[in-house]
Symmetry: C2
Amino acid sequence: MKPTLLFLVVGAAGLCWGQAPPDCKPNALNIPEAKYPCIFPDNRVMYRVIAPNAQSVRVGNTNLTKGPDNIWSGTTAQPAVEGFHYYGVNIDGATVADPSTRTYFGSGWWNSGIEIPAPDQEFYQPKEVPRGRVSEQWYFSKITGKWRRCFVYTPPGYDGSRNKYPVFYLLHGWGEDETAWFNQGRVDFIMDNLIAEKKAKPMIIVMDNLNAVRPGESATRFASRGLVPDPSDRPAPPPAPRAAAGAPGAAGAPGAARAGQPARAGGGMLGNSAFTEMMLTDLIPMIEKTYRALPGAANRAMAGLSMGGGQTRSTTMAHLDKFAYIGLFSGGNISMAEIKDPAAFKKQIKAVFFGNGQAEGGTAASKPAAEELKKAGINAVFYESPRTAHEFLTWRRCLREFAPLLFK
Amino acid sequence: MKPTLLFLVVGAAGLCWGQAPPDCKPNALNIPEAKYPCIFPDNRVMYRVIAPNAQSVRVGNTNLTKGPDNIWSGTTAQPAVEGFHYYGVNIDGATVADPSTRTYFGSGWWNSGIEIPAPDQEFYQPKEVPRGRVSEQWYFSKITGKWRRCFVYTPPGYDGSRNKYPVFYLLHGWGEDETAWFNQGRVDFIMDNLIAEKKAKPMIIVMDNLNAVRPGESATRFASRGLVPDPSDRPAPPPAPRAAAGAPGAAGAPGAARAGQPARAGGGMLGNSAFTEMMLTDLIPMIEKTYRALPGAANRAMAGLSMGGGQTRSTTMAHLDKFAYIGLFSGGNISMAEIKDPAAFKKQIKAVFFGNGQAEGGTAASKPAAEELKKAGINAVFYESPRTAHEFLTWRRCLREFAPLLFK
């Protein structure tokens, strides 16, 4: 009996209850020993949730049903798209993380995560290669007046050598934070593998938080979705579907995967001048003092995803003397019209990269933008991630394509 | 109007709705910009949860009520005990993390966390002192046949020097993992502060996962609470109260805080021989190869909390030639009857430490145990954390007391 058929029988009629669906493999991001959610060979996802007194339980647009064992179960109608997806469970109108999985910070809260194996997954899996490490680094920012945290990847061999390394500053997107690139993005596995294959140079990667607010400034722009309003706020609207409650990566509903994220808005934003000032005043000097970092523009790259791409464009375009490489991952593009001095740009910027997921629709703008720069003699690279939307597999692949361009 | 009175009015009669309770300070572990949960000056906690169609919402034994703004609110009847507590929200029988807070791995799943400021909180807060860093370190274990992850604290000055450092191996408790000591435990802040005050020597601290299973062995012993059963398992019992749903640190209900944890069971367990073998075969050699670690027993300490204390006792007592310092944090104690060769023990082990929280009842056994060792000429230290139970403030304080004993 094919898993598809089996599940339809189980789900629809309650027959075969008492038998786990064969071939449904636990999500790699589940808590230890948890079997659910699980993923069928065709990438449909089965969820199981304990909510004995609930009236309604759903994940995205998949309604779960309560079985004779008092547990809610359901399988997505469509296969999920390959890659990492955030998701939440809706229990009687409350959007919460699934207690069965590890949580990831996205859309401003700690969502559940699910990982649908991709055909090219080897590039982000651990292998028996020399390993770098990711460090949590706290520092005090004079610009914001607060302690900040970033994560720093140092490449294999860093600890045993006296070498200095170039530095790549890499930003997350809206609603995420400094934990995104090494948790959701798997920076360390991707880089260890690229470096072992000699496809990328050993480098330091700094993952900071793009939110920066000067003392007294409002933080509203960066506020999380799903904040519980204060009693003094206006009455809450009826149950608002939250981003992460969208069907995680359901094929046929590509919009759902990015429902909560201002998809290309990131590319069009002006960026946050407080972040740029903080980066130049606090972050870069701290990194160059604390780590064995090569100084100077030729040894600095910057990239970001979505809103982090917008911030990257804003920061680098205002300080072209400080960076040699620019990467925008689902984060818009740069046109010739924005480049005031093409000759200087061409000399200073060694590579510009625009990447998008095939399903998110950015190609129409980014591909011709890269062509335009190339015609002007600028080393511009365009990349489209097959099948993926505004999600982390797009950005893991962007990193895989962008890192080899750096510090050559 | 005192906050206490105001809240009673709001909660009981719905009067004053539209006004946030004054003096209720957001939990430091909330997601960015989230005002709830918040903590009143007397340490009662107010929760607010969006669950528009739920019939019942509670946190521990605090039942929340739905207000005219369609949001569930409630305040604990009793003040919470100072320190870090795990908690969950029960929505119609489902125990889930509160979407308003950061999540922490405890009781085998990603709970919410709340931090009640302690009178001595300065010791675990960041200060303007030289800072170490915590690194994520992956390595392959020959004993388990799997990739493992630990976190490694390197002290201030590590990166800029060629010095070698002693190594302290520090284990979490039941249901936790290798992230516990640096997230919940704040190892880096505590150590940076102690080192700046010259109370502790600079050292490397390795935080690994005490779960280790040889290929083919069952992992059942380490299984998480709250796993969703398989349909082939026997029917689920009626809604089982899960550990983290207990009133977080409610005074007057000290048992609740440790409901899900086998409090002193950890101390009485034999420990896991696979972990010990993995530690000696894989972990210690990897650390001493990857980091600038001083070799030899005199430069090795081991401690753990709760079940991690039991593991520490088991590992060190079986390999007294490998360690010079032993710390059991709410993890039982060592009696003279267990020490086969007191003269050798006294020579090899430079310090033994037993720590407990005042409210968890371990003192009755640990204090005389330390006295007994002291009478035999062994450097045994007993510590009792005021007011706290089987929770992380007890263990932060144990670390503060234990670290200064090391590597003198």
